[in-house]
Amino acid sequence: MAITGLPGGRAASVPLMGHETEPTMFELSVAGRSAAQLRTTGVPTRSLVDMVGAAHVKDEPVALSDLSERDLVGHFTRLSHRQFSVDLGAYPLGSCTMKYNPKFCDAVAADPALNGVHPGAPATLTQGWLELLVDLEEKLCAITGMAAATLQPAAGAAGELTGLLLMRAYHASRGEDRRRVIIPDSAHGTNPASVTLGGYEVTTVPSNERGLVDLEALRGALGPDVAGIMLTNPNTVGLFEEEITEIATAVHDAGGLLYYDGANLNAIVGVVRPGDMGFDIVHMNLHKTFATPHGGGGPGAGPVAVSARLADFLPGPKATRVADGTFDWVAPAQSIGRVHGWHGNAMVLARALAYIDVHGGDGLTRVAQHAVLNANWLRRRLADTLPAAYDRPCMHEAVLSATALKAATGVRGLDVAKALLDEGFHSPTVYFPLIVDEALMFEPTETESPQTLEALAQAVERIVARADTEADELHHSPHHTPVSRVDEARAARHLIATEDAAAR
């Protein structure tokens, strides 16, 4: 009988106690169960075949997963106990800005007066939303030093591609056909990928020994076919491109535009503005700097702000304050068109505005200051343990290198990262940026306390201290996590991406 059908039952156990795996929802499923409750509507029933015709009606319903509400809750609650998160502990994952996100912003996003609004309702019935978007655009422009912005892109990468299409439209409007975009070798992977999708070729410029763009190499790469350059500043090794003015001049002189990858904006909000550095196009990762929790991988929002000469090309329609003080959707004159099915990730935008409003101009500046303070303190604190890749003041993240450790003990950066999981901390980013050997990129963010940083440093010290004698154990760490080291190669070799593939 069905009653002996494990692991269905087994699943209702084993929560705190660690090392059991959780069955999938399909393994928990028992045909005939259901949790759904639908409203009583009084609408007469009618046969599907009558309504849409037999040719269209599926023969058999798609088998989903049939659970009681109790088992649904048990399953996902147990899964949540197998997941690290910022709310559980420090998450110094470089480039990702895993700061603590105020619960207040969650509350803002839960208000049905905002999140219960249909995106296709006319502007007259959604004035509050339009005003919110206009207010946010203004503040993002103030932060970036730009003239106008689109809020449509759903994430940083979408913002990048939007920015490149703006670049393209701009040059095209001037009758210019430029084909190359320059990016430094330290750039984030989305940059070159976006360049390709923007219809450009990538020209990579090397970094110099200081971890910065090699200005001479850059000048060498420039030419009349260069549409622009993509930079993040601070760059992905956590350093400020000090020659940014020279870079900007060189690019502008060559007729190119400067694109600012805003993923690292957290380091400089209120300190220096991309517009003031000479950038023409800036995307922001609201989910990094302006506190939308990352949701296990998303959602985000990647608004793109531009200088005045590019404003007319922005995606549209845009929420705009019109003459009578009300708000309406207006398309910029030479708009490149829509880049999102509706108006962008609106709830993420609302969260960001709430976060900006709570902090204000002064608070945002403190955010950057403390983010940089924490990173520098950690870098210095670990100087004798894991040296920084570039021995200079960093910005909001500290890129350390395990090269020496590996040479001496065989323990690699990855091992350190994995062992840190056993210490109860999330790992730093490893092996990025690609230009740093054995990179361990720590971004503590401003919301971690000095006590936490010290504890993190001590954990790193403990691991490094063990490298001499316990290298093998470190190679196989972590040991105390919900699962131990996972076989990634096997997953790729023998692809099982659905329960049904597993069954085959």
Binding site: T45, V108, G128, G337, H370, L373
Partner: protein, 453 residues
């Protein structure tokens, strides 16, 4: 003024000391003074959370179309479905909400397994063997599908039914400027795509909508045949709720299924964050955009999950990546898995059926009104387009005054002259979900009767 910084003044002082610095400003000393901001941001000082809550309450009140204030008959890709308390409670667990992309699988089994389950569910609904871990939304999923077709065929011409949501088509056009794809929009007549009106023999892709944005359920056999004849990919942009009762994209022979996943547990949210669904055949798996979670074993032989086939992705493949997507919509994907778990096999079928029943009941009532006509004579499932004797936006305004959001004016989605429709100004798109009661449907018909009288 408020912030979330832990540091006491004393601690800041001690930390600066340790760094040999005098002030926080000194941390930025290496930034050239010329570019540094003097005088701070031109943004007002911070407020407390309750102060900001009051500002946001103001935004909310200015949305006449907010939930609870208006009964929603708007659809067009965003639907007012039931999201039960249990789904909200689980989907908002902070372990899911405050995690990053699962780069360290040993501490991310929760999210990874939830995505694996999501992939399975979407694959089953699509009738295709593999699904990714989500894309931004339906529109950008379409772009990814076109890029996949471009990569698979090394061709650039994309034949897209004008039945595909006008915004999605617009987004496809925008991004085609970068990829060099040519988007050929195939017109509708009476709600049906006129595939015969174009020569598709050079097609990289044939894209059909199912149902299309006017609600019409088109037979996809011809489109499939044309794709096969051309050697292009057959792409179906589908409503995933309809997938609960209609033939799957796989049943119709699609190479790619994509759709907007908002109906699975995500609120209307003024259009985002939503959820781009994407599934395809195994032939295309190496071109699949975005993350994929796969099953594997840990070093103790226990089943584990991990992101896989990473070589497709931007962080490894860089300019040769299949897509630039990095941050996606994982939380919405997890929520969709929870919502589908709540619905179960029978629940999804019931939702789709009830939507259809409500839509047909309302259709019968409103098309009986003098001056109100169906745009198409074809079969539909859960939404339909009406041609009114007045501008649709005026009718919407009138009915809104009585607390009913009558639908979406087609003219706000597509420009006049769009190949899907004629006389677009008077066309109203109406959607009915399982939440709408007979009383509400009757009231709608009454109000519409008055509005067009």
């Amino acid at each position: 003024m408020a912030d979330y910084l832990p540091h006491t003044d004393e601690e800041v002082h001690d930390m600066l000391d340790f760094l040999g610095l005098d002030s926080l400003e000194h941390l930025f000393a290496h930034i050239p003074a010329a570019v540094r901001l003097s005088g701070g941001l031109d943004i007002e000082p911070g407020l407390s959370e309750p102060d900001v809550a009051a500002i946001f309450a103001g935004y909310g009140e200015a949305n006449a179309a907010r939930a609870n204030a208006m009964t929603c008959f708007a659809g067009a890709g965003a639907y007012d479905h039931e999201v039960p308390a249990v789904v909200k409670a689980l989907g908002s667990r902070s372990e899911f909400v405050t995690a990053y992309t699962p780069y360290q699988p040993e501490v991310a089994q929760g999210v990874l397994q939830a995505i694996f389950e999501y992939q399975t569910l979407i694959s089953r609904l699509a009738g295709l063997p593999i699904a990714n871990a989500s894309l931004y939304d339906g529109a950008t999923a379409l772009v990814e599908a076109l890029n996949m077709a471009g990569g698979a065929t090394k061709r650039s011409r994309m034949y897209v039914s004008a039945g595909v949501h006008p915004h999605w088509r617009a987004v496809a056009r925008t991004f085609a400027a970068g990829t060099g794809h040519e988007i050929v929009e195939v017109p509708l007549v009476d709600g049906l795509t006129q595939w015969g009106s174009v020569d598709t023999s050079d097609a990289a892709a044939i894209v059909a909508a199912y149902p299309n944005y006017l609600g019409v359920v088109e037979d996809l056999s011809d489109a499939r045949a044309l794709a096969s004849a051309a050697g292009g990919l057959f792409i179906v942009a589908g409503d995933p709720v309809a997938a609960g009762v209609l033939k799957s994209a796989g049943d119709w022979g699609a190479d790619v299924f994509l759709g907007e996943g908002q109906p699975f547990g995500t609120p209307l949210a003024f259009g985002g964050p939503y959820l781009g669904l994407f599934a395809c055949t195994m032939d295309q798996v190496r071109r699949l955009p975005g993350r994929i979670v796969g099953e594997t074993l840990d070093s103790n032989g226990r089943r584990s999950f991990v992101t896989t086939l990473r070589a497709r992705e931007q962080d490894i493949r860089r300019e040769k990546a299949t897509s630039n997507v990095c941050t996606n919509q994982t939380l919405m994907a997890v929520t969709a898995a929870i919502q589908l778990g709540w619905l179960g096999t029978s629940g999804l079928r019931d939702v789709a059926t009830r939507c259809a029943e409500g839509a047909h009941y309302l259709f019968d009532a409103v098309t009986a009104i003098e001056g109100v006509e169906a745009v198409s004579s074809q079969a539909f499932l859960r939404e339909f387009a009406l041609r009114l004797p007045r501008r649709a936006s005026d009718v919407i305004a009138d009915m809104a005054a009585s607390g009913v959001l009558a639908g979406v004016a087609a003219s706000t989605l597509a420009p006049a002259g769009d190949p899907s429709l004629e006389g677009i100004e008077n066309v109203l798109l109406v959607a009915v979900t399982e939440k709408r009661t007979r009383v509400e449907l009757d009231a709608y018909a009454d109000l519409l009767r008055k509005a067009v009288a």
